[in-house]
């Protein structure tokens, strides 16, 4: 959207005039820099995009919201009911909600929106929904083709922000680029791809979720999201007031930020794990004892203390701690135990040689350790290398770019790798360990009849969320028993802000920094 010069001049004049009249009033504005992981979005169309950023959640509301403890909260849906067989879901919708173009949000809006996903890359989100029935103006029913206990998780995702049907059809491919219509607390004012997104307050907003204190329109009249790829530049912008809030601050920047008197840092529990997959098809890792010993060599607590200054948490299994499926039999958690690791290797026939590297039948215990470029993994991989040396395993590091390393996995040229994922749902187990995805994402190259059976049960036969949790927990425990990877670290999500400019609620509600937090942000007096 581009203003004509005339209106620009007019608004500039208006701004100056306003400034002359009341010089004491603070501009109710905030500038937010995106995290580096969410740069490069080319559209705010939640239905068709493959990459959405934080600003999306300010334009569109979702039926349900998810909190940091993974619980679900009503939003545009005030309540919901799943049938006993899991074959239908009925949602009661909030009354009095309107889209930015003034049209009413009701059951028909949902019925118009779900079919839009057909033939898009996001179709999997609604794959289990067979039909959407309008029961009455504010009641909508999803008829399912199979039970989908993960439906609420999908509905809470940014990709399921609800667009206004009329505008969506009218704008076509330009929806989300030149304009966007949702029911969210902010309206899209201007989107300069790769540079910035300007959002203005939706003054009619009165339907926030219970994750926000503020149930009315936002305190901020305008929010500008900026794309700043270089972390040092983003930090300098925060320091000089060019940016008020910095999303996704790297952990190694925290010390510098804390030294600034006008900067406060909020740490949110992260939504991912850094870990080391083990290729079970590449000797010596075809021997489960060697795999187990590799896991026991890694000292997660020492890594958190030395590399991350105690920020974040050690990971002892494959899922983030807030997921119920992470609560496995403690005996299966992977914990540092050098003696046991050394005993296992000896048992497997690997004898310590004079140069500190184990040998078996004339073969040295020397393995390839891959990682991808980017500061995130560099020092972590080096510490892992040092810890592996303690059990007599020589690890040789090779660094690849993120696209090339996937080819290495697919060609089965890897042994160990240091990598990370960001996902707060247990179906990540299917993603990384399903026998149908060998190479990548199944970097462990693991196929196993029992594993696949447990995967199928968890993915397809869970009728409701309790069953799903139990099934995924069983699958998770079986995966742990096979020693396919070494869990290392659970990073935090760090948000920094200028205390002279804004007040940001701490702790932040929700799984990520989103609309529910922005609603509560006030300008500092």
């Amino acid at each position: 959207m581009h203003y004509a010069t005339k209106s620009r001049l007019l608004s500039a004049t208006a701004l100056i005039a306003a400034g002359l009249i009341s010089t004491t009033a603070f501009a109710q504005e905030a500038t937010i820099a995106f995290a580096s992981g969410e740069l490069g979005a080319t559209s705010y169309n939640p239905v068709t995009s493959s990459n959405l950023n934080s600003a999306t959640s300010l334009i569109y509301d979702r039926l349900v919201e998810q909190d940091a403890d993974q619980s679900y909260h009503p939003h545009l849906a005030t309540s919901w009911e799943e049938s006993a067989d899991g074959m239908s879901w009925t949602f009661k919708l909030k009354e009095g909600v309107t889209f930015h173009d003034g049209t009413e949000f009701n059951a028909q809006s949902v019925a118009d929106w779900i079919p839009d996903f057909a033939d898009t890359e996001n179709a999997f989100l609604v794959a289990a929904i067979d039909a959407v029935e309008v029961v009455d103006n504010l009641t909508v029913k999803f008829v399912m083709s199979r039970p989908e206990p993960n439906l609420l998780y999908n509905l809470a995702s940014s990709f399921m922000g609800i667009p206004g049907a009329a505008a969506y059809d009218e704008m076509g491919d330009n929806f989300g680029v030149t304009g966007a219509v949702g029911t969210g607390p902010f309206k899209l004012d201007r989107f300069d791809i790769g540079l910035e997104t300007v959002l203005v307050r939706n003054d009619d907003y009165a339907w926030a979720s219970d994750l926000s204190e503020n149930q009315g329109a936002a305190h901020l009249a305008q929010v500008t999201f900026r794309e700043i790829p270089d972390q040092s530049t983003a930090f300098l912008e925060l320091k000089t007031g060019g940016v008020d809030i910095l999303l996704g601050v790297p952990t190694d920047f925290l010390q510098i930020l804390k030294a600034e008197s006008n900067v406060a840092v909020i740490q949110m529990p992260g939504t991912g794990i850094n870990y080391m997959p083990i290729n079970v098809t590449a000797p010596p890792f075809d021997d489960i004892k060697v795999r187990q010993a590799t896991g026991l060599a890694i000292n997660q607590e020492a890594i958190v203390a030395s590399i991350y200054n105690g920020v974040g948490a050690p990971a002892h299994n494959f899922l983030i701690s807030s997921l119920p499926e992470a609560d496995v039999d403690p005996a299966l958690d992977v914990r540092h135990d050098l003696d046991k690791a050394n005993a296992l290797l000896k048992d497997a026939g690997w004898i310590m040689d004079s140069d500190g590297v184990r040998v078996k039948d004339g073969t040295r215990l020397s393995v390839k350790l891959f990682t991808q470029n980017g500061t995130e993994f560099t020092s972590l991989t080096q510490v892992v290398q040092a810890q592996l040396a303690d059990i007599g395993m020589e690890a040789i590091i090779t660094v690849f770019d993120s696209s090339t390393i996937r080819d290495e996995y697919k060609e089965n040229r890897h042994q160990l790798a240091v990598r990370g994922y960001d996902w707060n749902n247990s179906d990540i187990l299917d993603w990384f360990f399903s026998g149908k995805r060998l190479g990548y994402p199944n970097v462990s190259m693991w196929t196993d009849a029992e594993g696949q059976r447990l995967n199928d049960v968890a993915m397809e036969e869970s009728k409701n969320s309790e069953e799903r949790i139990a099934n995924f927990k069983a699958y998770h425990e079986y995966i742990l028993s096979q020693h396919l990877f070494v869990p290392i670290y659970q990073p935090t999500t760090n948000i920094a802000y200028n205390t002279n400019k804004v007040n940001v609620p701490d702790p932040i509600r929700g799984t990520r920094f989103r609309a529910q937090t922005v609603l509560d942000i006030t300008v500092a007096e």
Binding site: D192, G194, L195, I228, P229, T233, T240
Partner: protein
Amino acid sequence: MLWRYIFFRVLMLIPVSFSISVVIFMIVHLLPGDPIDNLIRVGSSPDDRAALITKYGLDQPLAIQYLRWIGAMFQGDFGEAIVLRRPVADLIAQNLPYSLALGGLAFAFSSIVGIILGTISATTRSKIVEQFMRGFILLGSTVPGFWLALLMILFFAVQLQWFPVSGAGGWSALVLPVLTIGFGGVALVARVTRVALLDVKREDFVMLLHAKGLPSYKILFGHLMPHALLPVVTILALRIGWILGGAVTVEFVFGRPGLGSLLIRALGQRDYPVVQGCLLMLALAVMLGTLIGDVAQAAMDPRIREAKT
């Protein structure tokens, strides 16, 4: 005569562009990795992946894929980005103005300042000025752009607060990036100008002009410069292509969009149509630059146009 020369040179661009398009296409497709992995997300099924490969025609033989791409290009269709989900032409059109503004200004700045500094250093008799110029040229050609960019930000934006740290809001945001890129260019242009002027100064006809009692400034502007500017024009023309794509690191540090940044992002995600589109644009710009350089030289020096036609 000059028109015939231009016509001949433009005609040559057709086979050259064609060969370049083949090279670009092959290099991009032979890189390890593919765009689909950057498109699918957790929750999608293995079948979705296969369907996407078919949808984007990535399962077709490379020759077929190439013909489809080049065929569409002939109709002015750059194709649709796979990962970035927008028409490639739109993406280029969005980024091009930023590149042109930054690259164009940096080009103008480095040309003008470079020629002036080069001239001063070639004509001065002051040892101090000459030493200073040598130091400046050495520094300018060796200091890495990203480091200079950070220094510029720290001094002019953080300490003095004269300019914004980053972004592309208005003219003030252009100053530091233009100076950063221009700095290296100034050094290069100054060096070439200096060497060329010194060469010409040694020619016999210059001694004759001095002997005739012509004032120094008349010799400089009327006789030395026209000769010395030939190599300078060549260097400048070659840098025209660099205007579009040469600012990647500086764009990164200053948080500016641009063709270079688009290319790097698309390359990281193996978004083939975008990478191909950007590379072809850059190649065309370089070819255009060379063409302009050759034509300018031919216009300035009749010997060239006669030798080449």
